[in-house]
């Protein structure tokens, strides 16, 4: 998996992560959690048919969470330092903060080791959930993982120039290795590779543009040539320009666009926030919409650390607490979680303390997201073929919450809106600003295809591992025309 051997690593002067954890736990006077996040990243940007900036970096963050027992509960203090942290000083600082803080609202007993994750590492996964690899060094990457991409770009730039196209894009690869240790004896390590490739093509005058993107773990499954071929096809659709007014349109949303909408939906799925009355999942009198039907079609929206091709950390890593994530839950095994099941809202996020207070199931966040309609088949092309008149979108951009009560989001269509007539694309349409709620949209989907890997243009930067179906919505609200191209 990791193309580098560690030979090129530049943090060789740093003590091993597992030693840092042992030292910190040794210095700690009370209960303590130590997280070491190592990351190795390589990337290259390109624009105007040439490479532009690039980067190679090694990061390390050490987080020490100290717990301080009071007469009435437990307080937590968190210190986080980059690089070759002075461990004794970091432990002392976090203990000082803990002693000066009020009792934590999310307090729960630290977890014990021996609780095995219900999920293992799937085929092709680099995840090492057990303690057996705890003393292994961090996985590394470097620009060699992008060798084929860079080689492919040379030819793609030449072809683009000859054809009057301008290419821009980004290729990046990162491996984050997380080490977790607790004073209760938990020792876990997980190495997470994350890659993405974006390619944008524009006509020389900028009036016609298209985007293709892909998430990948190691660039073995994505090439510039494949993406370029799809891009050229899209740009050919744009040879005919059609101006359309704002209004409600039947649209076919490709998986990449659906990914951004579903990431937006799950982002609002906090149990505590819903009980406070401030989200789309709030019901009157401090209740939530858990159990309510959101969609007539039996959609399943899930996160699963063992999801084939999308594996992610099988245990909780929480360097800080929030309304639904707790530092007290570090090391908790993660299992498949159905946020929506059979079209009903099935889970909201709760940390252990919140779940106990509300009588709900403990539900931590998981770093992937899959939307599936059971039995659904067909590709985005099949949905287009079944469209009498409608719009085929490419991706969504600049998505922002307008009204949390309905989860109304606004945003733009970007780099390719196409008019479909009688099952075929007949030309490219101007862009639109949309105002839509992903919760409402899910309820209005009339047809979905098979689930495939997808990369949200907006949120893919943070949630890289998603798989989504293409969907048809009969009445998508295009609020106004955007002259952007």
């Amino acid at each position: 998996m990791s193309p580098g051997t560690g030979r090129r690593g530049v943090t060789s002067g740093l003590p091993p992560a597992h030693d840092v954890i042992d030292q910190a736990l040794d210095k700690a006077r009370g209960d303590c959690v130590v997280i070491v996040e190592e990351s190795s990243e390589a990337e290259v940007r390109f624009a105007n048919n040439t490479t532009t900036t690039n980067g190679l970096r090694r990061d390390r963050r050490v987080t020490v969470i100290s717990f301080y027992e009071t007469d009435s509960g437990v307080a937590a203090g968190i210190g986080r330092r980059g690089g070759n942290a002075d461990v004794a000083d970091l432990v002392a600082a976090s203990e000082r903060d803990a002693a000066g803080s009020p009792d934590a609202e999310d307090a729960a007993p630290l977890l014990e080791p021996g609780v095995k994750s219900e999920v293992g590492s799937g085929p092709g996964s680099s995840s090492v959930p057990g303690a057996e690899a705890f003393d292994h060094g961090p996985a590394e990457t470097d620009l060699s993982v992008l060798r084929d991409v860079l080689a492919g770009l040379g030819g793609a730039f030449a072809r683009a120039e000859a054809a009057g196209r301008v290419l821009a894009g980004f290729a990046s690869h990162a491996i984050e290795t997380v080490y977790l240790g607790t004073s209760t004896g938990i020792r876990r390590r997980h190495a997470q590779p994350t890659g993405s490739l974006h390619l944008v093509g524009r006509s020389a005058d900028g009036s016609n543009s298209a985007w293709v993107g892909a998430g990948t773990a190691d660039f073995s499954d994505v090439t510039i040539d494949q993406l370029e071929e799809r891009l050229v096809g899209r740009l050919a659709w744009g040879a005919r320009r059609i101006e359309l007014e704002a209004g409600r349109y039947e649209v076919v949303l490709p998986p990449d666009a659906v990914a951004d909408l579903m990431v937006g939906l799950v982002g609002s799925a906090s149990g505590q926030e819903a009980e406070d009355g401030r989200t789309v999942f709030s019901a009157p009198d401090g209740r939530t919409k858990l159990g309510e039907v959101l969609a007539p079609l039996p959609f399943q929206l899930r996160s699963d650390p063992a999801e084939p091709g999308l594996t992610c950390s099988p245990f909780v890593v929480a360097p800080a607490s929030s309304a639904d994530s707790s530092v007290f839950d570090n090391g908790m095994p993660l299992a498949s979680t159905r946020w929506i099941d059979g079209g009903r809202l099935a889970r909201l996020r709760y940390h252990r303390a919140g779940a106990a207070r509300s009588g709900q199931t403990v539900t931590p966040a998981i770093d992937n997201l899959v939307l599936e309609l059971p039995e659904a088949a067909g590709s985005v092309e099949d949905l287009v073929a079944g469209t009498e008149r409608g719009l085929l979108l490419t991706c969504l951009w600049y998505i922002r919450e307008v009204d949390p009560a309905t989860l109304l989001l606004t945003g733009l269509t970007r780099d390719g809106v196409y008019l479909v007539e009688n099952g075929s694309v007949v030309g490219a349409v101007n862009n639109f600003r949309f105002n839509e709620s992903p919760v409402d949209l899910l309820g209005r989907v009339t047809e979905a295809g098979a689930t495939v890997r997808a990369l949200g243009r907006e949120y893919g930067e943070w949630v890289n591992r998603t798989a989504m179906p293409p969907v048809r919505v009969p009445d998508f609200n295009m609020s106004s025309v955007s002259p952007a191209s």
């Binding site: 990061d59 080689a151 980004f170």
Partner: protein, 503 residues
């Protein structure tokens, strides 16, 4: 007011790291090399209903080296602050330049910049916000939250604080060596009121902007927290009872607490020349204000005067020397309503032929390469005394006065935008007659600024801003301030956000 930064690296360590790197870069034939050694300390605190939800101290350290070698650029960075590691970074950056040069079709060149020698600079502050004990911060926020929760009008209160103290050592082959220390602070309190039937809600957030000031800001230097918190319950109760806006076209009087964000999105980003020339086409986007329109594009009405600067006191983008060794300055972007300038870094200044950079390079971390980032982009007030906000409102027959920013979105060429706000007041016959709910305004950039009939005087001028402006791949976040007066914009499209959701 500026003082020695006790958390700076030992000067001998910095010199050994930077000299080792620069000497090695010169030996390898780099025509340019710069190195940053940084320590960024931050503290975040968040309370929910007056109870501590999360608090964390963070210290980021690292070294970043950028080289221009063989006509290509290379960047490498690590968290290890030693001379040996810095020398390895130079090798890696040169290697990155060579590797990516295989697909390069244009050589990279940087605009010339004179050497500035040794520069030491600090932003003005009294108390470094990260040095204040956590317990004191929690106590202040508990007090603010408890006071608001005591009101029957308020059901929930969230309060958050982010304080940053950034120490940056910059050195390059030309001989510029800058040691700079900046602090910034953003306290935020938001109150929520549930509707009577328990099925709707409204929120109201403090309008206090993030600023380049120390902890004294939370103590009332530069903002009247007491007055703002005292007024909030009644304002929120009125908002909850307010009628929903009827969509249509209205004259808008926009307060600086809202207008700064419209300036940021529709002028700030649109006048970044790297965007206008296509270098952000895959991510942040391009710009309608293309380079061929410099000096001719009618951006707005004749009274529109917009500047960029990295010099204003307490400005979040303010520095002495930027992350490419360029001295900071102030410059015009829009004059008499016409596009007259762009924000530049050294590479884009060179390739555009505009001469020297105007100092807009910034990297948000020692581990990220510097890219062109936004200066403090500000709309200038009316000359002389100028109108008050009240007199702008007095000139409106049917309109809305908007305060505070909330939701924002703009397209990738910076044409079509939509903004909401914190408070919306109906204006009838020149008088404010109460709040409205569910307001969003939508416009196209040049239509909007072309319809700007009046700007307020210097008494209405305020500095707004954000800590989290995003750009670049991998993503970087930059702090930036925007000054502006109140402004009167005629005949703008106003939407009802409830109607937009189809309910």
């Amino acid at each position: 007011m500026s003082q020695h930064d006790p958390h700076a690296f030992d000067p001998a360590t910095v010199t050994s790291v930077t000299s080792a790197a620069l000497e090695h870069a010169e030996r390898l034939g780099c025509i340019h090399a710069d190195i940053r050694v940084e320590r960024i300390r931050s503290q975040s605190v968040r309370l929910r209903d007056a109870r501590l939800e999360s608090a964390a101290d963070d210290t980021e350290v690292g070294v970043g080296v950028r080289v221009v070698h063989g006509g290509a650029i290379g960047f490498a960075a690590t968290v290890e602050v030693t001379a040996e590691a810095a020398v390895r970074l130079v090798d890696q950056a040169v290697d990155a330049a060579r590797t990516t040069a295989l697909a390069a079709r244009l050589p990279v060149e940087l605009a010339p910049e004179p050497a500035h020698g040794a520069v030491v600079w600090s932003s003005p502050y009294r108390v470094d916000p990260v040095d204040v004990p956590l317990a004191d911060k929690v106590a202040l926020f508990e007090d603010w939250s408890t006071r608001l929760l005591a009101s029957p009008a308020i059901d929930h209160v969230t309060a958050s604080l982010l304080g940053v103290s950034e120490t940056k050592h910059y050195a390059d082959l030309s001989g510029t060596e800058a040691t700079q220390h900046r602090v910034r602070l953003h306290p935020v309190v938001e109150a929520l009121a549930l509707g009577d039937r328990g099925d709707g809600f409204e929120t109201m957030r403090t309008l206090a902007p993030p600023v380049g000031r120390g902890w004294e800001y939370a103590d009332g230097h530069g903002w009247d927290w007491e007055a703002e918190l005292a007024a909030m319950p009644e304002l929120l109760a009125e908002k909850l009872r307010a009628p929903s806006v009827e969509s249509g076209r209205f004259d808008l009087v926009i307060d600086p607490t809202n207008l700064w964000l419209t300036i940021h999105e529709s002028i700030g980003h649109a006048t970044e020349l790297d965007r206008a020339m296509g270098y952000e086409a895959a991510y942040a986007g391009t710009s309608f204000a293309t380079f061929d329109k410099l000096g001719t594009l009618r951006y707005g009405s004749d009274i529109m005067h917009v500047t960029g600067d990295r010099t204003v006191e307490h400005g979040l983008a303010t520095v002495a020397i930027d992350d490419e060794g360029v001295a900071s300055r102030s410059f015009d972007l829009v004059r008499d309503g016409v596009l007259v300038g762009y924000q530049l870094d050294r590479s884009i200044a060179r390739s555009s032929g505009l001469g020297r950079s105007n100092g807009c390079a910034f990297a948000d971390s020692p581990l990220h390469t510097p890219i062109q980032r936004m200066a403090n982009v500000s709309l200038q007030p009316a000359p002389g005394r100028g109108p008050s906000t009240e007199s702008l409102i007095a000139g409106v027959e049917q309109g809305i006065y908007i305060m505070g920013d909330k939701s924002w979105s703009i397209d990738m060429q910076r044409h079509n935008f939509q903004f909401t706000g914190q408070r919306f007041y109906r204006i009838e016959s020149g008088q404010i007659t109460g709040q409205l709910r569910d307001v969003a305004y939508q416009a196209t950039t040049t239509d909007f600024w072309g319809a700007m009939e009046a700007v307020g005087g210097t008494d209405t001028y305020r500095l707004g801003g954000a800590f989290n402006c995003g750009k670049g791949q991998p993503g970087q976040v930059a702090p930036v301030s925007h000054g502006c007066p109140s402004a009167l914009i005629r005949n703008v499209s106003v939407l009802n956000t409830r109607e937009e959701s189809g309910r």
